[in-house]
Amino acid sequence: MKNNNWVQMRGLRPESSTRDSRQVARCLSMLGVLMVLLVVFLGLVGRPALADESILLSGHFGVGARAMGMGGAAIAVSDDFSALYWNPAALAQVRRIEISGGLSHQRYTCRTTYYGNDAKDRESNTRLNAIGMVFPVPTYRGSLVFALGAGRDRNFDAIFVQRGYSTKDNWWQEGREIQSGGLLAWSVGGAVDVSPTLSLGAAINLWDGDYNYDWDAFFADTRDIWTEWPNDYDTTYIHDVKSADFDGVGIKLGGLLRLSRFVKAGMTISSPVTYDISGELVMMIRDVFDDGDEDQYRETVYFQNEISTPWEFGFGMAWSVPTFLMAADLRYADWSQMKFNDQPLEDYQETLSLSVGGEYILPQVGTKIRAGYSSEPIAYTVPEIVEDREQYTLGVGFLVGQVMTLDLAWVHGTWRTSQSSLTEKDEVDRVFLSVAYRF
């Protein structure tokens, strides 16, 4: 219902008011409303995507289908190119020249409930997972192996959708957010036997990545509550587009101890990485008022930030009998030590991730089958974590022509969070394909 009180108070007839003065007044009030909307928006969705630092908490995506088929428990097990990322010291076990590559496919499903309204959306991406080579140096005793390549250890592909009527703010709110990108680690490393039972390794990782964010939302006064001028909003459209580039350098050290023919133990230390993040954020808002007027607002913000991640420690063990192997990994990081432009951050906690997996070789057939489980807690504490991040994995491996391996893995992960009147359940299904040729 339109409200003409402003016209009566000013003693002016509506037709004699200038359009410009009304629009100026509306702009001023719109900025105020914009601030309110931002607070509402942030409070309602609280999307980690808005904070650069929490993008890095997307968890380790994983490199190599064999490792991912075993739940990511690869610190003491990896003996191919992927060891460059899981435990560089394990490269010492590679005895033949290897060229390998891999792809990953992810399907991300988001289900939300907002003030009793359900919404669901899905997005799929196929990316390069890894490419590289391993070169063992001929030795008379011990082992010296070098490797170089690229692996996608962080993936930012995600989707979020929300719709519902907020009785608190008296708006119908509907939004869709798409994130894409990831971090590729260009790595060079090697491993050497320092004793009959101990191998040490190290890798330098040059992190290079990009992040793209698109938030498309609209708010509608479906119950005609916002009717008083200048706040007689009918509909507000918001479209935020953000793009950023990531650069960083880190070092990973590893050790592998062969306790016996049956048992191996591995340990890794990953140095803190300071990411240089630069990009731009374009915010566009279009308001449509009850009387048909429209206002548009556009702002471009350029930013350059630094985010420093904490030290990460990993420990793994593997037990084997003929044709059967079991492995378990623990990874620890204290994300409360993460810094944004040298300032400590709140709302982050330390995490301890667990991965367990197994591999069995079918006799006579020679095919390997794998299964695993991993728990990778969410470090961001703002949303209430109803179900923490867990993944179940299956995998299979084939030997082709005695010189090539073909590995497949399927990973199914879920987690659930709750915040204010919004609950969100995320599901990821990932398929990894790795091919390696040794000669």
């Binding site: 010296l144 191996k264 005695q402």
Partner: protein
């Protein structure tokens, strides 16, 4: 960008220092000849031809353990070093590997005195013929006695002895075949 490059250079430098500082258990260069028995001192290491050849042929016993004979194809993929000069294909209908063209390997210069035929892998039929590998390469002369002694004194014999390197079941089956092949190679 400049900061990134500096960090990268520092990382490469640290990586290089890491590998340089790791000691000398891993041996890349073929050691010198045999130390005369009279010059051998207790507690000091020395190399002999009996040590050099088996160590060059050494492969991780884990893979022999994890991939038994029923899935031996995986063992060829994981266990045997590429510088063995033989590239093994499992021919259909046969249980054991048969050596094929051994002249293609780029590391031919690795073959020196001590074996006139390429090192063999376990299970190779003793009747398999190999093309002649001696293409006019001159044998290495042993270094002078004094420098040889110094070199050997710097290289302690760690842990593994030649007798420890293969599993018991390999020892009895393979060493016999290796010795047989060595004799045949020398006869050629």
């Amino acid at each position: 960008m400049i900061i990134l490059i500096r960090r990268l250079i520092l990382g490469i430098f640290l990586l290089t220092m890491f590998f340089v500082s790791l000691g000398c258990y891993t041996v890349l260069k073929k050691p010198g000849g045999v130390m005369p028995e009279g010059d051998r001192h207790p507690g000091e290491g020395y190399y002999t031809e009996d040590w050099v050849r088996p160590s060059y042929l050494w492969y991780d016993p884990f893979y022999r353990w994890y991939y038994p004979d029923v899935c031996g194809r995986w063992r060829y993929y994981y266990a045997y070093p590429w510088w063995w000069n033989d590239y093994w294909y499992l021919h259909p209908g046969e249980d054991e590997g048969i050596p094929v063209d051994t002249e293609r390997h780029i590391w031919d210069r690795r073959r020196g005195p001590g074996w006139s035929s390429p090192p063999s892998s376990p299970g190779t039929p003793s009747s398999a013929s190999r093309p002649s590998q001696k293409k006019g390469k001159a044998e290495e002369k042993p270094p002078p006695a004094d420098s040889q002694k110094d070199q050997e004194r710097r290289m302690p014999d760690w842990g593994r002895k030649p007798s420890d390197r293969s599993s018991p079941e390999l020892k009895s089956k393979d060493r016999g075949q290796q010795e047989e092949r060595k004799v045949k190679g020398e006869e050629q």
